[in-house]
């Protein structure tokens, strides 16, 4: 196995990791604040991808331009879903929120199956197969863009959390819910905003993934399990964790596939996961509480 192949595998792994980071960033935010795993994450990603698909095929809007439509739309969807459904049905109890999101995911997936039918669809845009030379690797342009935007998004979200008032409020609620309420923060509003932001990242992820991948009612399953792994690996609630975790998983999958074969290579992800949890149970950057 010569150096160029290993180098190319590393680059492919990093780019793949960028996609995982994108899907995981919303999940980690929702967990960090609401302290629940959003089981509807996969099906909502699928919904967003269908949105991008139809924006292109029905209205001719390029997937990268539709970010400006999808991100606000998904934010609004998340906000309304929380205010109208999840928040109401769960009466504030964490276990209930979990079950509601699970129910939501089943509902969304089967509605999609009913309306969109089972087949998978791909899109073709003028730059779908444009290749860029990155060191020893030939990389499709959409993957490169996806990586760049994913990193930028995580950086932007991190800054948002640190520097803005809402970001501070979100961090306050994440750390100490009762205390936040006591200092006058509208906790329910923060929950709804956080859920909205979590879904907004899925909107961006969908726009970046459509030129590379395919969409079908079950496409969410393909990515969401890896996203969960990234979130736990990186530390729940940490954006830096989502980035580093995503890249580690991407590299592991890439090298695992290269050395152990694509079928066995999947084991690499689970092995790393177990190792990190054994030695650092809160994840790489998670808080120790």
């Amino acid at each position: 196995m010569d150096a160029t192949i290993i180098g190319a595998a590393a680059i492919n792994g990093l780019l793949l990791g960028g996609i995982y980071t994108l899907v995981a960033s919303g999940l980690t935010l929702i967990y960090g604040v609401l302290h629940i795993i959003n089981f509807a994450h996969g099906s909502l990603l699928m919904l967003a991808m269908f949105g991008v698909y139809y924006l292109l095929t029905l209205l001719g809007i390029d997937p990268y331009l539709s970010i400006f439509i999808m991100v606000p739309a998904m934010f609004a969807l998340g906000y309304l879903l929380y205010k109208g459904l999840i928040g109401r049905l769960s009466s504030g109890k964490d276990e209930n929120i979990l079950l509601v999101t699970l129910g939501l995911s089943i509902l969304i997936e089967n509605l999609a199956l009913m309306f969109f039918k089972g087949d998978s669809r791909t899109i073709l845009v003028s730059y779908s197969d444009t290749m860029v030379e990155v060191g020893p690797a030939f990389v499709p342009l959409p993957k490169l863009i996806s990586f760049g935007v994913a990193m930028a998004l995580c950086a932007a979200l991190g800054l948002f959390m640190q520097r803005t008032d809402i970001g501070r409020a979100i961090r306050a609620v994440a750390k100490e819910r009762v205390g936040a309420r006591l200092v006058g923060i509208d906790v329910d509003q923060i929950f709804a905003i956080s859920y909205g932001i979590g879904l907004a990242t899925l909107g961006a992820a969908a726009c970046l993934m459509m030129p590379i991948f395919y969409v079908s009612p079950t496409v969410g399953h393909v990515f969401v399990l890896v996203a969960f792994t990234v979130v736990v690996l990186g530390g729940m609630g940490s954006f830096l964790g989502a980035v580093v975790g995503g890249l580690i998983i991407g590299l592991t999958e890439s090298f695992g596939g290269l050395f152990l074969g694509e079928s066995m290579g999947q084991i690499g992800i689970s092995l790393i996961f177990i190792l990190i949890l054994l030695f650092r149970p809160s994840g790489l950057f998670g808080s120790k509480t």
Binding site: I5, D129, V226, Q266
Partner: protein, 405 residues
């Protein structure tokens, strides 16, 4: 309790008389009970497209049989489809079989995937219910000694044998450009079985399989497999996998400019009109050994028009399952009953000729139709041509393909 209620006994007698009176007109009209056919297909999950197509083909055939007056020898009994979704999972396929057994099916049609067909046919065997295999390629399906299983189309053994002959001829015609190959396959029964057979047969036509690469369903990214193949530099990449992975792999190989004499697939899951429609640049020059309709059959062309008029694509799942229903209808007609054993006997002795396919009369040996065969196909940016065997060919093969780099 020793007290009886004369009223309730009277009520029962009255009710009985009433229903006899009410039922009598029904008895007089005597519409024969419909024959229930259980369709077990993966209409959700990763095989959803293929399952949906297979179901459509079966329903088209059932509608056609019913429109023509049903099964004449059974007093015009109509066929009734019971729809089942195996969700692309074997255990759900089995539970659908059991559920339909409760609903009184006379036969099953399914399951698209070999991995689902294997346990599903076994479940049906408990009740001796005839099971018509629409697409499943594995030869294990028909050589377990189950008397209720009938497969009209060729299994992967026959397909690999014919594919290798076709490849050998085309390679000779192309000046022997191909000497080595890398096999890529999906990890379940279909892919593994096909790849194993290929690896054994290729040396017979002077093509060395350098490596066999297995991948999971689903696989998110084929960059590393493409890298490995690039490092090995084979003359051919031969793939056996399902819809999504087939397309992703082909696309990745093209993007990575992996130069080969051909991207050849045996029973390629994604080689169809959908690929040409959605990814014409990827589809161009790809070759697939697969099931194909007889391009000289008027009936086949009429079916194709019918499907395309509804905005659908005429993929092999449609006509393979269409044929299974027609085969079953023919067996019902000859047996004159939907009694399971009698139908099994009628199927076993069937000589029905599927005009839509390039098969000839049916001849079942241990449940496998010996008359069945596939064809070698090649895609252009707009269409799919048969390039082998010559008696059905509509175009000459382009081999080796032009370089990508």
């Amino acid at each position: 309790m020793t007290t009886t209620h004369p009223l309730s006994r009277r009520l029962i007698l009255q009710a009985g008389a009433a229903s006899a009176v009410l039922g009598a007109p029904g008895l007089l009209l005597a519409q024969p009970a419909p024959v229930k056919v259980g369709l077990v297909h993966p209409v959700s999950g990763f095989l959803a497209y293929n399952g949906g197509q297979a179901r459509m083909g079966a329903q088209m055939a059932i509608d056609e049989v019913n429109a023509a007056g049903g099964i004449k020898s059974m007093g015009g009994a109509k066929l009734e489809a019971l729809l089942g979704d195996s969700q692309s999972r074997p255990e759900v396929g089995v539970s659908e079989v059991e559920r339909m057994q409760q609903d009184g099916v006379s036969a099953y049609l399914g399951c698209f995937a070999s991995g689902i067909a294997l346990p599903a046919t076994q479940a049906a065997a408990k009740y001796n219910t005839p099971f018509l295999i629409d697409v499943g390629a594995s030869d294990l399906i028909v050589n377990r000694g189950l008397k209720n299983v009938f497969r009209l189309k060729p299994g992967f053994g026959k397909c690999v044998d014919d594919a290798v002959v076709a490849l050998g001829e085309i390679n000779k015609g192309g000046g022997g450009a191909a000497k080595t190959a890398v096999l890529v396959h999906e990890e379940s029964e279909f892919g593994s079985g096909t790849a194993k057979l290929l690896a054994a047969k290729l040396p017979g036509i002077n093509i060395q399989p350098l490596e066999t690469i297995k991948h999971a369903n689903p696989t998110r990214d084929f960059s590393n497999i493409a890298l490995r193949i690039k490092g090995i530099k084979p003359d051919l990449v031969i793939m056996s996998n399902y819809q999504n992975e087939y397309v992703l792999l082909a696309r990745t190989l093209m993007q990575q400019k992996v130069d080969v004499a051909a991207m050849f697939s045996v029973l390629g899951g994604g080689f169809n009109y959908k690929l040409i429609k959605e990814q014409p640049d990827v589809a161009q020059y790809m070759m697939d050994f697969n099931h194909w309709f007889n391009p000289k059959s008027a009936k086949a062309m009429a079916l194709k028009k019918q499907v395309e008029a509804k905005g659908g694509l005429f993929t092999f799942e449609i006509y393979l399952s269409y044929n299974c229903i027609m085969l079953y209808a023919d067996a019902l007609q000859r047996a004159g009953t939907n009694d399971k054993q009698k139908v099994i006997d009628a199927l076993a002795s069937s000589t029905w000729s599927p005009d839509v396919m390039p098969y000839g009369p049916t001849k079942f040996v241990n449940g496998q139709n010996e008359g069945a065969r596939g064809a070698l196909l090649q895609a252009s940016k707009t269409d799919i041509d048969v390039v082998w065997p010559n008696d059905f060919a509509s175009a000459k093969p382009i081999f080796p393909r032009p370089k990508m780099s």
